[in-house]
């Protein structure tokens, strides 16, 4: 594969992962947020696929297919079923409003470039040069998790963190051994399944609720 045909798509796919993370902060409609998350999963799978094609690594190719299936389709489908039960559900009052959230995202992206300087310096190259994008996605996920109050938004925040870690993994190492990759994908899938069950149970018990209404336990 020629240099251009590798660098271009790789940057595009990795950049799309970050763009999706920012858009999840911008949208309030939970259904739209879940769709953006699906797009992000597809972009993540595409990143792994481009890397696999470039390095002719079959293991990474299998990983790409696995990621595409789990994060692009299965997990969003699971979340869509939670959202569908709650029509018109929106993140109405996040702890930090949308414009401020977008500003924070910009700051977090700068921070992640500063923080990953040492890492990218160890192996200069297109792929590892893009690794800060993964870190930025992790930080945006953190931000989402700590400022949004709907159960689904928190699950999405968790998945942003996870996608960011996965992106950094692909870009830096070309994928972890297949056994580990398989285990991590299975774990993520199970976490979402369990969170979905919990969210549904809480919805059934408390009605439409924000997570900060949970105040049974405190000191």
């Amino acid at each position: 594969m020629t240099g251009f045909a590798y660098h271009g798509p790789l940057g595009l796919a990795a950049g799309a992962v970050l763009a999706c993370a920012v858009v999840t902060l911008w949208r309030r409609d939970l259904r739209a947020i879940v769709s953006v998350l699906a797009l992000q999963g597809i972009a993540l799978g595409a990143t792994a696929a481009v890397l696999a094609a470039h390095s002719r690594d079959i293991g990474l190719g299998i990983t790409a297919a696995l990621v595409l299936a789990a994060k692009g389709f299965i997990i969003p489908a699971l979340l869509r079923r939670v959202v569908r039960r709650d029509p018109g559900s929106r993140e109405t009052a996040p702890l930090v409003n949308v414009p401020a959230s977008l500003l924070a995202a910009a700051v977090l992206i700068v921070v992640s470039y500063l923080a990953s300087g040492k890492v990218t310096a160890l192996a200069p190259g297109t792929a590892s040069g893009l690794a800060p994008i993964g870190v930025a996605t992790v930080l945006i996920g953190f931000f989402m998790l700590s400022t949004r109050r709907k159960a689904v938004s928190q699950i999405v925040g968790l998945l942003l963190i996870d996608n960011g870690v996965a992106l950094a993994t692909f870009l830096l190492t070309g994928g972890v051994p297949l056994l580990v990759e398989f285990g991590t994908s299975l774990d993520v899938l199970l976490v979402v399944v369990v969170l979905r069950v919990l969210a549904t149970t809480m919805r059934a018990r408390f009605g439409p609720f924000d997570l900060d209404q949970l105040r049974e336990l405190h000191d």
Binding site: T169, L172, R205, F206
Partner: protein, 486 residues
């Protein structure tokens, strides 16, 4: 062979529990399987100590003295907890709070949980260890919520979200170590293996390992209940059924810490001991501070025990920071002693909750006169946990403090001792009310059968025995400490 058996026996019991229609039988089968893990763990430990070589199986599993020691800890506490689980399930189904299906699910999940912990300590590959630790979170979430009250639901949500975030950070740290190993001239396939990482530790890029170690301490520290990511712990440990709390507090925390010990050894090789030590001292002292300040005003005895676990994890982190062979041996003895004592106390607290119907300290006075057996166990358990002789926690705390002074961490040990003094006073005050207090005249509720006390007293006796004489463990502790000591 032995390694496969250690993993297969509890897993088989879990699968049997899933299909057997009799939950009581399945519960006893699970208890027997976990007892077998203890026995197999001792055999594994004998082999690993004797041959001075790790037992390996199939390239995926590996048991050195440290892994074998952890198998013994897991087996011992899982055995106590699963014996008590049968009683918990009996009581819950008896009052109609739990259907037979839920009882079956409970036993299956407990066995999955125990198997995941065993896999975490027996994996040769640190990536697999990560997968197993994350899997323990998933298995325990439903167990935390098993009582299906509002509080239990809230606790399981917080538990799963916070621990998943923490463990995701630990994965990023693991990946960075892998990245450093890839660029240090190792081969890709084997570079997350403990042996190859340790062999090449000196060649790892220090800048990358520094970042990785920070993420690992934060990430695995979340699962180990170290501040600042400890906030899930008091909720989850207080809401979970008592045997689950015993397992989570007694072993799950230290299984996560085990992963940290392994990575610390690698970071020591790459960076020298200074930086990992600083991280662990900060985490340890912060945990001690949190525990001391929140124990003072605690109103709930299960939460009191949970905060007490944060204190002990802080002490363990400080001991590991000292890092010498003596310090690690003391840390490991503390892991076992704390596991036994905390396990027994949580199980006893479950009995108290069952008998009194409340977990508020205020409403449960004078246990010693009203329920002498249960009160006595609780009292001796508290004495053990506070680090008084003859229990093993006294010996291990003494040795950890000594090692800290030798390592130049005397100032940290001094701060720790102040926090421990505050905690001692706070727990004594709560304990005095619980055990002695002023008993209000009230109708006697169903008393626990005496037989229930047998596993609890056994656990306490084991803890006291190890305090008086550590001879059966001594060679194992030293062999295990050599694996990761700096």
């Amino acid at each position: 062979m032995l390694i496969y058996a250690v993993l297969a026996v509890p897993l088989a019991a879990g699968m049997a529990a899933a299909v057997l229609p009799w939950w009581r039988l399945a519960g006893w089968a699970a208890a027997a399987a976990n007892g077998a893990v203890l026995v197999l763990g001792i055999a594994l430990a004998a082999e690993a100590t004797h041959r001075r070589l790790p037992v390996v199986a199939g390239g995926v599993l590996r048991a050195d003295a440290l892994s074998a020691f952890m198998v013994v800890v897991i087996g011992a506490i899982a055995f106590l907890a699963s014996v008590q689980s049968v009683r918990y399930l009996g009581a819950e189904t008896g009052r109609g709070a739990c259907t037979a299906r839920h009882a079956v699910l409970y036993t299956t999940l407990i066995q999955a949980f125990v198997s995941c912990m065993l896999l975490a300590v027996l994996a040769a590959n640190l990536g697999v260890t990560w997968v197993a630790v994350e899997a323990t979170t998933i298995a325990t979430t439903f167990l935390v919520g098993h009582r299906r009250t509002d509080g239990a639901l809230e606790a399981s949500w917080k538990y799963l979200v916070i621990c998943s975030v923490g463990i995701a950070l630990a994965f990023l740290g693991t990946v960075l170590v892998y990245f450093a190993a890839l660029h240090a001239g190792g081969h890709a396939a084997g570079s997350l293996d403990w042996t190859s990482l340790m062999a090449g530790a000196r060649r790892l890029n220090p800048g990358v390992v520094r970042l990785a170690m920070g993420l690992l301490v934060l990430g695995y520290g979340t699962k180990a209940g170290l501040a600042p990511m400890h906030s899930w712990l008091p909720d989850a440990h207080s809401q979970a059924p008592a045997p689950v709390s015993a397992l989570m507090s007694g072993v799950l925390l230290t299984v996560a810490f085990y992963a940290l010990l392994r990575f610390k050894a690698i970071a020591d090789g790459a960076l020298g001991p200074g930086y990992p030590r600083a991280l662990l001292v900060v985490a340890g002292l912060a945990s001690l501070g949190v525990a001391a300040s929140l124990l003072l005003t605690q109103k709930d005895y299960k939460r009191m025990l949970a905060y007490h676990s944060i204190e002990h994890m802080g002490l363990i982190a400080l001991g590991a920071a000292a890092g010498s062979s003596l310090a690690i041996a003391a840390v490991l003895l503390h892991i076992l002693g704390h596991g036994l004592a905390k396990g027994v106390l949580f199980l006893a607290s479950g009995e108290i909750l069952l008998a009194e119907g409340t977990s508020e300290i205020e409403k449960v006075p004078a246990l010693l006169s009203r329920r002498p057996v249960l009160g006595g166990i609780f009292g001796f358990g508290l004495v053990a946990l506070l680090g008084l002789p003859p229990f093993s926690l006294f010996v291990s705390e003494l040795n950890m403090v000594r090692a800290e002074f030798t390592a130049g961490l005397g100032w940290a040990a001094a701060i720790a001792l102040v926090c421990m003094a505050v905690i001692f006073a706070a727990v004594m005050a709560h304990g005095r009310h619980l055990l002695l207090g002023e008993a209000a005249p009230q109708g006697q509720r169903e008393a626990a059968p005496r037989i229930v006390a047998v596993p609890l007293i056994t656990g306490l006796l084991a803890c006291a025995f190890l305090g008086v004489s550590a001879w059966p463990l001594e060679p194992l502790l030293h062999a295990a400490a050599r694996v990761v000591a700096s």
